[in-house]
Structures are given as C-alpha cells and as structure tokens.
Symmetry: D2
Subunit: 151 residues, 4 copies
C-alpha cells in the first residue's frame, strides 16, 4: 500500500468507523502533507442556541479536534517514512489529544462548515496543530490549537 | 418566579430545548450557587475510538462546555440579584463561550459521566469557570477551563 | 494628533513606560493595522535552562502577551475611529488580557527574538489575537493565542 | 541522597541556578508530593501597568509556569521511585513545558504573591498540572493549566 492509499484509508476510518463523527456527519475534505480539513452540513440536531439557530459549541470543538487529529496522524506518518504500514496504523490508533483550546470568534451560522488544520510542529512525542473553522462564505467562526501525543 | 424556580427553568431549557444536548443525552444533575454539573450515559454513538470503545473527545468537550455555560448563567444571575427575570433570561440567551481549554487526562471509559463546573470569577463582563469530567467510579477523565461573556 | 502619531505614542508607552518590558528589553518592531511585533535580544538573565542556555518560558510568554496586547490596542483604535484621542488612551489603559495560551514548540535558542501578533477578531468587548515567536533565523519557537478585554 | 534531599536540591536549582527566576525573585515555598508553590515579592520592575501599579502579565505567567514545572519534576520522581538519582536529574533537566494556559482573573495587586501547583495527572510522557496565583491576602489573581513533557 502506498502513502496516498494509506492516507485514503486513514480518511475513510475517521469518517466511517468513528460513531460520533458519523453522528455529526463529518467527512474528510482535504488531506495533504501540511494541511487537512473536514466538513459537515448544518442540521437541526447540531444546534446549540434554539433562539438564534446557531451551532452548538461542542459541535465546533468536535470538528476542530477531528481535523487536528487527522493532521497529527499525517504528521506522524511523515516523521516515520520507513515504518511498516501496520506499525503506523497501530501508532495512529493510539494517537490521542493531550489538550485543545477553542476560541469562539463568531456565531456558528451557515449551511456548510469546514474545519481546516495545519501542522506547526511534529516532534518525536508531541504534534502541535492549529485549526480554523469557516462557513461556506469563508467567515471565520472559531480557532483551535491542539497538542497530540504521537509517540 | 423565585430564584430556585428560575434556576430550574434554566436547567430545563439547557437539557430539553438545546438539540445537541439532547442528541448527547445531557441532563442537569446539580445546580447550586457555586457548583453545577451535568451527566450523561455512555452509548455507542458517542464513541470516538472504535478499537478501544472510549468516548469521543468532542463529547467530552461538549459536556464540559455545557456545564461551564450553566455555571456562568448562574453566576450572571447572582451578579444581578435585583434584575427582573425576563431581562435575566434575555441576558442568559446571549451568554456565549469566549474560549475553552480541555485537557484529556485519561481515556473516556465508563458507563455514566459527570461534568462538574465551579465558578472562580464572575466579573461584570466575563466569567471564568473550571470544569472536571469524572466517570461513575470517580476517575478523572478530563479538565476544562472556560471563559464566558456574561455582560 | 493623527492616527499614526497615536500608534507611535502607544508603541513608546509600551516599551518605555512599562517597567517589566524594559527589564526584558522589549522594543516595538512593527505596528500596523493587522499585524504588530515586538523584538528583544537574548541576554544572560533571560535564560531558563542554564545547562542548555535557552530562554525561560516566562520570557517567551511575556513577549507573546505584550505583542498581543499591543495588537488588541490597535484593534480597539480601529473599532472606534471617531473616538476622541484621550478617551481612546483611557480605554487602552484599561485593556487587559483575559487569558493566554502558549505552545512551546522548540527550545528558545537564538540571539534576537521577534513576537508577531495578528488580530483575528475585534468584537465590541473582546479581541482575539494569534501570536508567534521566531528567532533571527526564522525558526518558530512558540505559538500563542490570547483574548483581550477591549470594551 | 534520599528523596527529601533530592527535592531540596531541585528546589535550590530552580531558585538559584535559573537566571530569570532570580531576576523575578522567585523562591520555593512548599514542595510536597502533590502540591508545590513558589513565592515572590512585588517590586517596581515587575510592574506592567504603571498607572495602576499592578503586576505584568508576563510575571504572573512566569511564576505559574515555574510552579507547574517544579510540580511536574516532583511527579516525575514519584513515577520513577527506583530510578537512580543522576538519571532522575538528567530527566528533570530535559523536562519542558508543552503548553500553558493562563487566566487573569483579577488585577495583580499585593506585596507578596504565591503560585501554587497541584498535579492532576502524571502519565508516562505527559504531566498535567493546575496552578493558582494568590496575593498575601488570599485573593485569587490568576489560574493556570500546564502540560509538561516528562518522559
């Protein structure tokens, strides 16, 4: 299996085999060496403020965490170019979020949302990733920074 | 309507009128002057790691944010003891999370989880709240700190 | 006094009238509408790890917080273009950091460091700013995100 | 050298051999298995707001980071009770802050300040520590949460 196929497999796992990702409706949009993104559609059950009809903060945090986690997994792959594929998948299965910061900058209004992640540092043990959530008009809704345990 | 009734109304609104809270199954457990908590049961669709069967980080973040938000709403009420009830409800409807930090300290294993919030500062504009998530055995799973815009 | 003069006055105040900024040796490098930066030289008393000779984490946090605070002050000015200058200076004197997150991505090695801040949201009450610290070779040493009370 | 002697040596190193700690005037106050604290006196060069005469946010962040780092070092010792002392000191020399969140809850007024740290999780690779800064009257000034790389 080549690297692009491995990336594709990671992407499929994240959107199809993780129950809570399915519940929200997260799907991988982009998955490159330095940038990854997930997107999801607005739907009634994701609403947090029924008066204003805006996204729940937890949905925002979830999508941002998932985008960051996928980015960290890609970072881990790139740090270990020689590692056998099964070993990589085992490492990725153990990858976890150490901590996450979310800044809610504007109300979550829109019909489609994209959480984009960019890796800023992939060390031997920890990856640091910055995330942003935009709606379909490109309005910035939230920022995130996450650290992920990768080794 | 007295203060305890108002607190009860806030609690009902949070668990019954917010679609995403219902999706997760969040219910208010405790709601006092300085401490509030929400609880929820583990269920298959909240899982984030299908190999290990543990809670999704986004579920953890969501429950912690909700506990913190309720605590901030109670804090807002206490800062404004003389304010008319409808005005208070209007303020609470506008209350929003500014930012949130989550520390994932142990895997989210268990059958019932409780997110507890304690208010550390209720200023005129911003409330600072610290949160903890435990499972039914009292194991600490995650920590949170949130700032909420209350004025 | 025109806006550029006001910006200059803010810059002077930050680097000359704030004792702890002087102690570190912080000076304003850049101060534009959407980006601001401060720089400082490495010196023995800023060291945190005497074995490795690297910057103390507190020095990194300090420079990042100062860059973010100046950026928030500029943001506040731009939100209030019609406000009288003395009123602006009064508001700026009350501006405060609500919270700050620092990610230490690489050891603080180098001879000159620059903390750059970019404003991502200037609301009526809160500004959200992202920061980065680089050394003279452009190596990224730390990231920051801060929220500042501006109203 | 016994454990208490080792703790004493760590404490001495932190307050005497780290130049920036000396510049601020940080000294170890308490150093137990689950709680550590550092204290420092207010002095003119630590001021951040010359109008209000309050502590610079960077001084607050520095003292909170140091208290957390010492706590993480003690946590590391306790995780490795059988490890030879020199090996422990080597590990401690490499210990680093991964990230830090500071919440500024009240202005830094007072004459003596104490930053207290409590360890919430010491894993194999990462320790999570919560911190608080109080003045001599017990007024809470700032909160912190830090993650430290310990393995």
């Amino acid at each position: 299996m080549t690297k692009p196929e491995l990336i594709k497999q990671i992407a499929t796992t994240f959107s199809e085999k993780i129950p809570f990702n399915k519940l929200i409706g997260l799907r991988i949009k982009q998955c490159e060496r330095e940038i990854c993104s997930v997107e999801f559609d607005n739907k009634p059950e994701l609403v947090g403020n029924f008066v204003q009809g805006i996204l729940h903060g937890g949905v925002i945090a979830s999508s941002i965490d998932v985008a960051g986690g996928i980015m960290a997994a890609i970072g881990l792959m790139q740090k270990n170019p020689e590692t056998h594929q099964q070993e990589l998948l085992d490492k990725i299965a153990k990858l976890g979020t150490i901590d996450l910061r979310i800044d809610y900058v504007r109300p979550g209004r829109g019909s489609v949302f994209e959480a984009t992640a960019k890796i800023l540092r992939a060390g031997n043990k920890v990856a640091v990733v910055r995330m942003e959530l935009h709606n379909e008009e490109g309005i910035l809704i939230a920022l995130g920074t996450g650290t992920y345990l990768i080794g």
